[in-house]
């Protein structure tokens, strides 16, 4: 039984933590939060590229480090822990994974080396309005290699160079690679719940679009991409949830009320114990997801859904109860609690809401455990 990070992976993880402690303090996160004109931390992005993390799971032939996805999971956890204000998920979990999964050799050779080198930022553009995007309500359309339509919101849409866009072609959904710096794209920045991550409205008017994967396969391919992203996002959620629990614990151990530290009251102790229980459940489910992702196991859709559901629940609970443990001061802009509360919801919605994943999980279980 070998259901944990290896020693090498633990070393990588601790090096990543040291790097981020030095380069991604909450002061750096706040610099993005407090400045509407600042969409991400460019210095950190360059530093992360320099560490090779962007190409961690990209094969060496395409300029990456060619490490496995478990290593990428280790990095994801550390990025989640410090609520890193960079477009890592959009670029690595979504664009790179989409191209690795469905790209032609030419598309891989065109895009992956640029991702690994930190030269381009990616985005996934599926949403067109409130609620789920389905074959029935999808409006964006590709005709003769030209995309027309509106996507809102697109996480990192304001800064991305290449987007994976869901659009109809010949009446059926497919995925397309769109160069956002070529003509036919208008961007409009959006204010969001988590200003430490950029988002925009993208309007396409006859923008050149190159199909990714097979025609008519868009929704199925999107699910496969999201399965992969879900595992990586779950590690970010584990990292964030663990840090939120630590913050609550640190504060509870120094704050006095009624003559004793509040950490000595069972109301607080049991709250923190509940956070710990959810965080460990999330971690165990995430580990299973990492195994399935790294081995391309047939169990991946189920493992990814479980990892995502548990990770979302843990980060939501830890981030809100961390504020509660802090009391009044936790509700102030100056305390870091809200950075985690905001990021928890950003991560929860960026690749499909919990309700969607629960339905996907149960559908898979129904099929697997057919009567």
């Amino acid at each position: 039984m070998n259901f944990d990070f290896s020693d090498d992976q633990k070393f990588l993880k601790s090096e990543a933590r040291k790097f981020l402690e030095a380069n991604c303090s909450t002061a750096k996160v706040r610099a993005v939060l407090n400045d509407d004109a600042k969409t991400y931390d460019e210095a950190l992005w360059k530093g992360v590229a320099g560490q090779g993390w962007l190409g961690c799971a990209i094969p060496e032939e395409f300029g990456g480090l060619g490490l496995g996805h478990v290593e990428l999971c280790a990095i994801a956890e550390e990025l989640g822990r410090v609520v890193a204000p960079i477009p890592f998920a959009s670029t690595v979990y979504l664009l790179a994974e989409a191209v690795l999964l469905a790209g032609t050799e030419a598309q891989k050779a065109e895009i992956l080396p640029k991702i690994a080198a930190g030269e381009i930022i990616g985005a996934l553009a599926t949403s067109e309005g409130p609620g789920a995007t389905t074959a029935a309500n999808l409006k964006a359309t590709v005709n003769g290699g030209k995309l027309t339509g509106t996507k809102i919101p697109v996480t990192d849409g304001d800064i991305a160079d290449v987007a994976v866009v869901l659009a109809n072609e010949g009446g059926k959904p497919a995925l397309f690679l769109v160069d956002l710096n070529a003509g036919g794209v208008t961007r409009e920045a959006l204010k969001t719940l988590d200003p430490t991550r950029d988002a925009a409205k993208l309007v396409f008017k006859d923008a050149p679009a190159q199909r990714l994967g097979d025609a008519g396969d868009g929704l199925a391919l999107l699910e496969r991409i999201l399965d992969r992203a879900a595992v990586l996002l779950a590690f970010e959620q584990c990292g964030g949830a663990d840090r939120a629990l630590e913050m609550a614990k640190e504060y509870a151990l120094e704050r006095y009320a009624f003559g004793r530290v509040i950490a000595s009251y069972q109301a607080i102790k049991h709250k923190l114990a509940d956070m710990y229980v959810k965080n460990e459940l999330a971690r165990s489910n995430a580990y299973y997801g990492a195994w399935a992702l790294n081995t391309n196991a047939p169990e991946l859709p189920i493992a990814a859904a479980a990892a995502r559901i548990a990770g979302t629940e843990a980060f939501w609970f830890a981030s809100k109860e961390n504020i509660q443990t802090h009391g009044g001061i936790g509700f102030t802009w100056e305390m870091d609690c809200h950075l985690y509360y905001r990021r928890a919801r950003q991560l929860e919605l960026v690749a499909g809401a919990p309700r969607v994943w629960k339905e996907r999980l149960v559908s898979q279980l129904e099929r697997r455990n057919a009567a």
Binding site: M1, Y287, V362
Partner: protein, 408 residues
Amino acid sequence: MDFKDSPEEAAYRTQVQAWLAANAPKAGGDGDPEGAGDLAAAKAWQAKKAAAGYAQITWPKEWGGQGGTPIQQVIFNQEEAKYPTPGNPFQIGLGMCVPTVATFADAETKQRFVGPALRGEEIWCQLFSEPSGGSDVAAARTRAVQADDGSGDWIINGQKVWTTGAQFSDFGIVICRTDPNVPKHKGMTMFWLDMHDPGVEVRPIHQMSGGSGFNEVFFTNVRVKDSQRLGAVGDGWKVSLVTLMNERLAVGGASGAGWEDFLAAARSIPTADGATALQDKAIREKLADWYVQFEGLKHTRNRTMTALSRGQTPGPESSIGKIVSANAMHDLASTAIDLLGEYGIILEPELLAQQGVFHSSFMFAPGLRIAGGTDEILRNIIAERVLGLPGDVRLDKDVAFKDMPTGR
């Protein structure tokens, strides 16, 4: 990251599989989770395992073990679970009582008890909980007073409760109050005793679930020799900590209703709108949550096994097991019964799907949330031992036991 055995583990597993194939029972096994079931069959199987060194794999060879590793014990348990073996009424004795006796008794006593316990010839029980102290074991009131006849013997009077297996046990270890004039942790002493001695009376507890897996044990002027004392007079609390440290590794799965039972049942239960319960969106969301909890625990056990496999001490994550499993099972069973509508009030296993597993789990779950550490105590343990938060304020810490506030 994988689920594979190391080469040494694989070799051990092969060896265990071969032995089990040749020796394990192929039929029978009553699966009674609360009692011993067929005691004779259990004893016969235990004797077979002991003869081959599989009864307590981690024990040293001179005690009849293999001097093996915890992961080898886990591997054996996994393989043994594939056979319909009888219940195991020896675990409390071998896991907790006998190691305590072996640590604190003289060589002769050790020699006398270890072998028969290992071979299943004698069964032990642990007499700690009392009506006045379930979570608070140090509140024990059962008195042991030294006889005034110069013999050095001790006379025990009092009552224990929730004693698993007392009805078929031959021996027990009992924690007694020997000095009520000092604070509670300091005035206790541990003894071993013969459950067949005069003055020991075992009465089954009638549980709210209808079963009787536990007992009350009454002591009326039970006389034990001073040589039956384990540890120094007044050191009973320290001795009990050694007993509890030996609790077996929590790497086994939980029994009772699980998400697969629910999925199977929900497929065929009709709802008011003519669909099935499994098509109900609210039910599907709950099912997803239970899946994540039960499978999360399974993977948590795999993490624990990984630590053992690497020769490390398992991390604190295994402490979440019972809180999650007991509450998830309770919620799942409750929901499953609700789906049945008025039919849900019926408690006839033959009229119910899955032989009424939801009904039995529904009635047993309240006990599961209490046994072996209540939800509340387990949260305290996580908060204090895992997260390092302060212990509770103890009003009784420096008070003589006799002056402690006690209620009734």
